[in-house]
């Protein structure tokens, strides 16, 4: 059986309803345990208790990027193989990605206040993230603006493709721009390598939890989209009589 079989909506509905409880349970478990563990970690000698923000900030930031990559893959599958579930999965993932981006931005801003003394700094990394948020917004807005669902899938697919290239391009441009004038603020805190094991393991658990949460939401939302399409199709047929 080829993997493309899962793009068949009926099969997708069946399979997803079978695995959904397990994924959801896993998400709840990992996320709950990871967050509690993270919240109970001791204070850092330098950052104090703000280090606890990391358990939300870092997984959210990672997921925000990964979800865009997943949308890119799903869009490509739709554009090349025209599997509807794939397009709907990309549509379903976008709002989750946008929320993840917002979480990363907000926690980062709140974290920045005690650490750097400012809510927002035009640091390359933060800036690139803001641009990613704009791409999410445009993508979601385009989906909701186009009436014909297949056209919407095509157009958003093309946008996702072009957007990805430009997101990467912007990342480098932004780097160039901020180094051009002065040394990129006091961001050395971000050296991921030197994270102490005390924080490392709960962080990994949180990352896993965020990932499973995303999978759960993705499955549910894709199912919602499929049901909506089916409802619309049946209604249209009814009207025609």
């Amino acid at each position: 059986m080829s993997i493309w079989e899962y793009a068949n909506p009926v099969k997708f509905m069946r399979t997803s309803s079978a695995i959904l409880p397990w994924v959801a349970a896993g998400a709840a478990l990992c996320l709950g345990a990871g967050l509690v563990w993270g919240f109970l970690t001791p204070q850092d000698y330098k950052q104090g208790s703000t280090v606890k923000i990391m358990f939300l900030h870092v997984p959210a930031a990672m997921m925000a990027i990964n979800i865009w990559v997943m949308m890119l893959a799903a869009s490509l599958i739709w554009l090349i193989r025209r599997h509807h579930v794939s397009a709907l999965a990309a549509k379903a993932a976008a709002p989750v990605g946008a929320v993840m981006t917002v979480i990363a931005l907000l926690t980062g801003a709140i974290w920045g206040q005690p650490m750097w003394g400012t809510w927002w700094e035009w640091d390359p990394r933060l800036t690139a993230f803001l641009i990613l948020f704009l791409f999410y917004l445009g993508y979601i807005a385009l989906w909701s603006a186009v009436d014909n669902p297949d056209s919407a899938a095509d157009l958003t697919g093309v946008l996702c493709l072009v957007g990805s290239v430009f997101a990467v391009l912007s990342r480098y441009a932004v780097n160039f721009w901020n180094q051009g004038l002065h040394q990129g603020a006091s961001l050395s805190v971000k050296a991921g390598e030197r994270v102490d094991p005390t924080y490392k393991y709960p962080l990994y658990l949180c990352m896993l939890g965020f990932f499973l949460l995303f999978v759960t939401l993705l499955l549910i939302r894709t199912r919602t989209e499929i049901r909506r399409r089916r409802t619309a199709a049946l209604l249209a047929r009814e009207v025609r009589g």
């Binding site: 400012t118 700094e121 800036t127 803001l130 704009l134 917004l137 807005a141 909701s144 603006a145 721009w177």
Partner: protein
């Protein structure tokens, strides 16, 4: 009148209605300016009041052509003009709908963008109040500009030209209030002028706009 207001709000929030796009444009302006100007917090803080007001103004401006152009194209405006509703009332209602869908979200979101541009915290309440008082005037002046250009195909840019000079007093007093606030001074005087402008605009512009519409329908 209520029916018209509800319809416009409903159209704006339906798919393709453009609700929230003004907000997105505002966000974009506030993001682009640092790209152009450079990332230093000090410079940004100095120009933040001006940029925020200019951004809000442009966001308002760009959604103006929705006020009448759509109704013109599909013939609704002909029908509204023959309806038992004074055209002045229709203009006022449509400007109000524009403000609710564009101006109000801008006002509410402005503090966030203020943070992005390093606007001093002391200036935040001034930003909120000055935008809240000033944006209704922007919507009403915009409705006038939209009424003048409604018959022209893609009159969007021409409308910008007509409307922007009308926006200058609002912009000056609004930005001045925020700037004084940022400097820790009292911004009440420009705010009073700003309210005066808004009230005068709301009282007179519906008549001018309705007259322009009648000419264009001819």
């Amino acid at each position: 009148m209520i029916a018209l207001l509800m319809r416009d709000l409903r159209l704006a929030t339906r798919a393709g209605g453009g609700f929230g796009l003004g907000l997105a444009f505002f966000l974009i302006v506030c993001t682009l300016v640092p790209f152009g100007v450079g990332p230093e917090g000090g410079t940004l803080a100095r120009i933040a009041p001006g940029i925020l007001w200019v951004g809000a103004l442009l966001a308002c401006l760009l959604s103006l052509d929705r006020i009448f152009a759509l109704d013109w194209e599909d013939g609704s405006l002909d029908l509204l003009a023959t309806a038992p509703l004074p055209l002045e009332g229709a203009v006022l209602v449509k400007a109000a709908a524009h403000w609710i869908t564009t101006g109000l979200p801008l006002v509410l979101a402005a503090p966030v963008f203020g943070v992005l541009l390093h606007l001093p915290a002391a200036a935040q309440p001034w930003l909120l109040v000055s935008l809240g008082v000033g944006t209704p005037a922007l919507s009403m002046l915009g409705a006038f500009g939209a009424a003048i250009t409604v018959g022209l195909r893609r009159g969007g840019l021409l409308m910008s030209l007509l409307v922007l000079p009308l926006y200058v007093p609002t912009l000056i007093f609004g930005a001045e209030a925020v700037r004084r606030g940022a400097a820790g001074a009292d911004g009440a005087t420009p705010l009073v002028f700003l309210s005066g402008i808004t009230l005068a605009v709301l009282a007179t512009m519906p008549f001018a706009a309705a007259a322009a519409l009648r000419v264009n329908l001819r």
